[in-house]
Amino acid sequence: MLSWLLGAASGFARPKIDYHALAPEIILSVGICVVLIVDLFISESKKWLTATIAGVVLIASVIPIVTLAVIGDNTRSLFDGRYVVDEFSLIMKAMFLIIGYVVVLLSTNEIEEGGYYQGEYYVLLLSGVLGMVMMTSARDLVSVFVAFEFLSIPTYMLAAWRKRDTKSNEAGVKYFLLGAFASALMLYGMSLLYGVAHSTKLSDIGAAITVKGKLSGVEALAIVFIVAAFGFKVSAVPFHSWAPDTYQGAPTPVTAFLSVGSKAGGFVALVSMVYLAFPLAKDIWQPLMFVLATLTMTVGNVMALKQTNIVRMLAYSSISQGGFILMPFVVAGTKASETSLKTIVAYLLVYATTNLGAFAVVIAVTRKTRSGEISALGGMLTYAPGLTALMTLFFASLAGIPPFGGWFAKVSAFRAVLEAGTGYGYAIAVIGAVNTVIAFGYYGNIMREMWMKPAPDGDNSRVEVPPSIIAALGITGAGTLLLGILPHLVLRFGDLNDLVHTGALGK
């Protein structure tokens, strides 16, 4: 209606909108409203309904993605190419929606039992997912920014969800202040980019930076700021400092969501920036990525070794995993760019599945132990062999041990950097290899606690695992195994090269 009005006023041509392509976002938006409204009208005892609706909405959103994928015609470009639905975005959207669904499963009991504001919680969760889903398609600085804020702002609030818990407050405030600061930095960088390229469209920017040959200082500054901001989002060292505190303070399901969803969102943004906005400025981002990747995986690992709190350890572990996901970026500007992209996607999928699984087990076990300390995991083999096996599976996967998903992700990452055959590539490969070993230090430590230590208080009563968490465990466990044993069944990428080829790298 608004567009009609505008059109009537100033000859504004109403853009043709591909509703099929936008269907996931639309369903999500509607779902958000529905949850909000339902929440208003149901009694306190029926609030669980909001969770159900949120789950249904997320699953429903997957349907158009499936149909889009099945139809399989090429890239759908909307709004003058500022919002694009292609293979890459489809697969990532599906991933975010499933992440959202698993987080809902994980949250149900926690939020319900904690007496937190269920309706609002799911609204915010869905909003965050919406932001991520949008991010996958954003091909314009403005849409990137909007998506970025859309996935950030709800999570600020979620992090502080336990209102009376000062830790949770602290988590929220830290996350918020630094997030806002980072997005301000990003905006500053973006404004400079806009000044250089005279357009906010990523492909235009990419083209503009290409023409000049030599980079200007402004461009370099802009790129560094933007990368730093997304580095913040993916908690790359040295922009990671918020992550451990926030992860530890936030409610565990939220932490799961942050460590998986919001991080993946950051990577998606990073992919579109690197591959589309400034692919040829690799002199800038290649060393930057190298340093970030090296620092991230190393510092993440090293710090994780020292942790006694399991969630905090997982926070550092996810930082270090982020470092591995950054690895392919180092060679994204070489002939391995296509492999790198595939690797990033594969790694994100594996990481998301595995990490969510790990959080699921932690949530399940914490219900019994009531402690976040690693030492509280002792004796799990005796009283919860199933959970122990699953936890082992997830941690082995994170450590990159076959045949669980993680190995494939790591192999892909090494494969990508080695394909490039550049010095950076070889260097990061060796560093990565060493880090893989260090990582086992803390993953192994968890396993050791579970397998080899007795229960700290000799309490060997069984753990009650609620059905929703069982479902989450089932999804993530099966996913982790499947990704490891038959990765190809899951990772049917088709043509991811679209992104590479539409970007300046393809030319």
């Binding site: 909007v146 804020e149 407050n169 600061f181 930095l185 905006l187 806009y194 390229a197 303070g249």
Partner: protein
């Protein structure tokens, strides 16, 4: 056009903002510093937009509008959080927010 002057102003604002974020211990002041940076951004965007005629000019204006809108939302959330802390801790000093570390 006086683009460089605008950009310079933007840069100065940015720096002040950054300084504020780093140096101020008061949460509200930090929030305000962030707003300063956002203003610098807007200034930049508009200066660039004005500088280029026609093609691409609209992008900057639209961008600036979005920044304004979203910054408002952000500040809303931020103040909410600050309020929350104040309620729990009777203080909005950031130094007291270091329960978790290491």
């Amino acid at each position: 056009m006086l683009i460089n002057q605008f950009l310079l102003l933007g840069a100065v604002l940015f720096c002040i903002g950054v300084y504020g974020v780093i140096a101020r211990k008061n949460a509200v002041m930090v929030l305000m510093s962030i707003e300063l940076i956002l203003n610098a951004v807007n200034l930049n965007l508009l200066a660039f937009a004005m500088n280029m005629n026609g093609e691409g000019s609209a992008d900057g204006h639209v961008f600036a509008l979005y920044v304004l809108a979203i910054a408002a939302a952000e500040v809303g959330v931020g103040l909410g959080l600050v309020l929350l802390i104040y309620r729990n801790k009777r203080s909005i000093s950031l130094d007291e927010l270091s329960e978790m570390k290491g």
